[in-house]
């Protein structure tokens, strides 16, 4: 790993300010993708801005007919949340099958969504469930958030604060894992809401998440 300047921030505003000041800054959430990449010297940010200290970004709460999950909520916390389990059990199950237990204790929903790995699990849920990605600047519909392989609608100094998932009638997620990395070779999230059934596929194209309405 190349050296960098570590910045621990405790508020979203401080995080944004640190990013604006940095020569080539990088927000780090759980770091489960970023740190291995940096260890291999395949990324060399000047500043690592650790969002781990921002309490506002953590936690899960019911918000009317939706469940709101703070960006820095770990996969383990989503999986174990009784609110998520009762509102959208498929989402809890999805979170509980990302990586392995130790990775789930560090990796976060915000980090996963912002990274938008073409084989990641969460993006499929965000699109299929019609979730809204809330940032420090705006609210972005799940459909419009993911713009390409590893690309999102996020701007350089924009960060996800929470993701709001509307309750759904029925939903399920299944994935076929790569036997080595255990990333999804293909994952399918199906969600039913009223007359609409949405199916979103992750993995398969190695490029982007494909959705369709049935």
């Amino acid at each position: 790993m190349y050296n960098f300047s570590y910045q621990k921030v405790t508020s979203v505003d401080d995080a944004v300010e640190a990013m604006q000041k940095a020569d080539d800054g990088k927000f780090v959430a759980g770091g489960q993708t970023m740190l291995p990449t940096m260890k291999h010297r395949l990324a060399s940010p000047s500043d690592v801005i650790d969002l781990g200290g921002i309490e506002d970004l953590k936690g899960i709460c019911m918000d009317g007919d939706a469940i709101s999950i703070g960006a820095m909520t770990t996969h383990a916390e989503v999986a174990a949340s009784s609110d998520v389990q009762s509102a959208i059990p498929a989402l809890a199950k999805l979170a509980g099958n990302i990586g392995d237990p130790a990775v789930r204790n560090r990796g976060t929903i915000g980090g996963s969504i912002a990274n938008n790995d073409p084989a990641a699990d969460y993006p499929a849920a965000v699109i299929a469930l019609g979730a809204t990605v809330k940032t420090n600047k705006r609210e972005i519909a799940g459909d419009e958030f993911f713009t390409g392989m590893f690309e999102t609608a996020l701007e350089e100094d924009e960060l996800i604060t929470s993701i709001s998932f509307p309750k759904t009638e029925a939903a399920a997620y299944m994935k076929f894992e790569n036997p080595a990395s255990r990333y999804a070779i293909v994952g399918v999230f199906v969600a039913k809401s009223g007359d609409e059934v949405k199916v979103v596929v992750t993995g398969a194209t190695a490029c982007e998440h494909r959705g369709m309405r049935l």
């Binding site: 790993m1 190349y2 050296n3 960098f4 300047s5 570590y6 621990k8 770091g31 489960q32 740190l35 291995p36 940096m38 260890k39 291999h40 690592v48 650790d50 781990g52 383990a76 990586g99 392995d100 237990p101 130790a102 990775v103 204790n105 560090r106 990395s181 255990r182």
Partner: protein, 156 residues
């Protein structure tokens, strides 16, 4: 350089680290707690698993500075005498280790599995939950037996 302070195995410790120093490097090099091992560089083998604030983490994928103020437990902290932690004892009784290299991470993960799944954790759950720990020696058979036996021992 940064100064980090944390509790490791119930002892308050502090040390100078670079911003980029990993938690596992701090444990192994600064504190010379060499029971925590590094077996890969992509966060998969699990030889480096420790507990941070009671939860298992891969200490090769966390900065030392991120553990500042935390409560860290390593394999060395499970017992400070001749008597082994029930999970360590179960690994010994069930021959759940051979070369010993993956063992500290396995034991730390095993305790975490029992903490979350209880003393009656079944074989399928143990196997699934060990997916972040790779062992080349044992074929897992005896590790799984050990985790289940250790779970019973821990449950009292």
């Amino acid at each position: 350089m940064l100064t980090v302070s944390m509790k490791v195995n119930e002892q308050a410790v502090s040390g100078e680290v670079e911003d980029r120093t990993l938690l596992v490097e701090f444990l192994r090099e600064n504190l010379r707690l060499t029971g925590t091992h590094v077996g890969c560089d992509t966060s998969q083998c699990g030889a480096c698993v420790v507990h941070v604030d009671g939860a298992s983490v891969k200490s090769c994928t966390m900065l030392a500075v991120q553990a500042d103020g935390c409560d860290v437990t390593t394999i060395e902290g499970l017992t400070n005498g001749a008597e082994l932690h029930p999970m360590q004892q179960a690994f010994k009784d069930n021959h759940g280790l051979q070369c010993g290299f993956c063992t500290p991470g396995m034991v730390m993960s095993a305790i975490d599995i029992v903490n979350r799944n209880g003393s009656g954790v079944d074989e399928a759950t143990v196997r699934k939950e060990l997916e972040g720990n790779i062992c080349r020696c044992t074929g897992y058979h005896n590790i799984v037996k050990a985790v289940q036996a250790g779970a019973k021992n821990m449950g009292g």
